[in-house]
Symmetry: C2
């Protein structure tokens, strides 16, 4: 691993810059320092109060609100803001970037982000480390957050080959299982595996808690609590994800609605065999998947 880092990053004290230092950005900083791939980590923050907090967390060596200061001399810049602000950030760092600097991001959707930034920054390659956490903020940053996690890297035909290698190596050194795929394939997959569970959780909360029958709350138990956990995520983050991946999410909702319609047919006809088959196949599919060890 050290060899990989030595090959791909400048030997003397490479500087890594985090644009936005929350849970993910902070964890990148801690992880990069722990694995020795960053000589120096600089964080760009929006609010002056964040400077102290970032330094206290140990995730950065220096924090600033100044774009020039943040990215000057950096060999790798990682956009860790909400998805909706990334394109603007790319434009604002551009004048201060060294020509060799590689830029990546941590956004949960890729087609819109990559289409927006690629024309601005030729050495940009999109990434998405999948590290589910309900926590937010640099105070919860974790040097081992990426250990064993899947990290998608989404190069395009326009991507700089050296930048693609560098981004792949970087997440690999941080412990992630790196998977390369197109932005479209990525967005279709996460619409199903990540965005669909989220929108369903939220819809379920609306359906039940939005119009409660009298005395109903006494009857809500752990099943509802677990099934709807995702609904407590950040509304603005999920608005951005929904807006930037709306078609794939609509398709995923349609897939679920087909399953629900099939189930309603079996309920309407009181088809015990079909109902048992439905629940049994669901159980088998899930249990087998859990046994496969993919329960991150």
């Amino acid at each position: 691993m050290a060899k990989v880092a030595a090959l791909s990053l400048p030997v003397e004290s490479p500087k890594i810059t985090l644009i936005g230092v929350g849970l993910l950005g902070g964890s990148v900083g801690l992880a990069a320092k722990k694995r020795g791939v960053a000589g120096r980590v600089t964080g760009l923050v929006r609010r002056v109060e964040s400077i102290e907090e970032c330094l206290a967390s140990g995730a950065v060596d220096e924090a600033t609100q100044d774009f020039a200061e943040a990215v000057e001399g950096a060999s790798l810049v990682i956009l860790c803001t909400p998805v909706g602000r990334m394109k603007d950030m790319a434009a604002r760092i551009k004048p201060h970037l060294s020509p060799e600097a590689v830029v990546t991001d941590v956004g949960s959707v890729k087609a819109s982000v990559v289409q927006g930034i690629e024309p601005i920054l030729p050495r940009f390659v999109g990434s998405h480390p999948l590290c589910g956490s309900e926590k937010t903020g640099v105070a919860h940053a974790d040097a081992d957050l990426f250990e064993g996690a899947t990290c998608a890297v989404t190069p395009t035909e326009q991507s700089d080959a050296e930048a693609v290698v560098k981004v792949n190596e970087f997440w690999g050194v941080l412990g992630a299982k790196v998977v390369n795929l197109t932005t479209e394939a990525h967005d279709d997959i996460v619409a199903r595996t990540s965005h669909l569970p989220h929108v369903v959780a939220s819809a379920l909360v609306h359906a039940i808690l939005g119009k409660p029958a009298e005395g109903e709350s006494d009857f809500i138990g752990t099943g509802f609590t677990d099934t709807t956990r995702l609904a407590s995520g950040s509304p603005t983050m999920w608005r951005d994800i929904a807006l930037t991946n709306s078609e794939a999410i609509q398709k995923a909702i349609n897939d679920l609605q087909l399953e629900l319609s099939e189930l309603k047919n079996a309920l309407a006809t009181k088809d015990g065999t079909a109902l048992e088959g439905f629940f049994e196949e669901g159980k088998i599919l899930r249990d087998q998947w859990l046994e496969g060890g993919e329960k991150k």
Copy 2:
């Protein structure tokens, strides 16, 4: 509490009979003994091997496969079999029941169970203690399972008033928060609060793991795992619940589908305000509900 029990159960060594001794039946036995409301607990089991297991768990003082032996002299009989077998059990214990014996059950649906059993056993009153657990079997029985749990009791116009009081007192002594409501109100409520989360979890597993895209499993994380936990429940138990509460569950699925359609509209029109509002309201409703302390 001791006073309540002394008033309502025969003073000298009342016998309680469990028809079926799994997780719930076993827990009733342990709880009744711990709280001193049963002088003797007898369990009726289906398989001869279960006799030893029941005795070893401490949930019963005696276990038998003989219906006469099981219920003779019992002041309270609790049906703890799967819902689909309860009516048959009621018919089979009837010839051996003493006239004073009160009968109740622990089934997750009430209208079909009560309609089936009431004509057979005049001193039957339906119950449903809500104790979510993924575990099954008497080995996991817990004397405190009902402590703080909601227990629905569903008397009808035909119910014997004394039997209703006795069933209410019994669950109260076991630590449950007892709620009386009609069988229809009960079934409508649990269709929404319990059955809907379950069928959605199963449908979500079908939609995602049933037709996986290539490489998709690397992208399935804790969000999916939590949202679908209920899908690993017993298929036969859920078939029975679906068959016996099919109309209310269809209605609950329709409620959810309306929410999903609303969300799809907002996605199709890329209505950021509507999307953020949807996620925000979902978060607020859920967070407020959790803060209300009803997170059993």
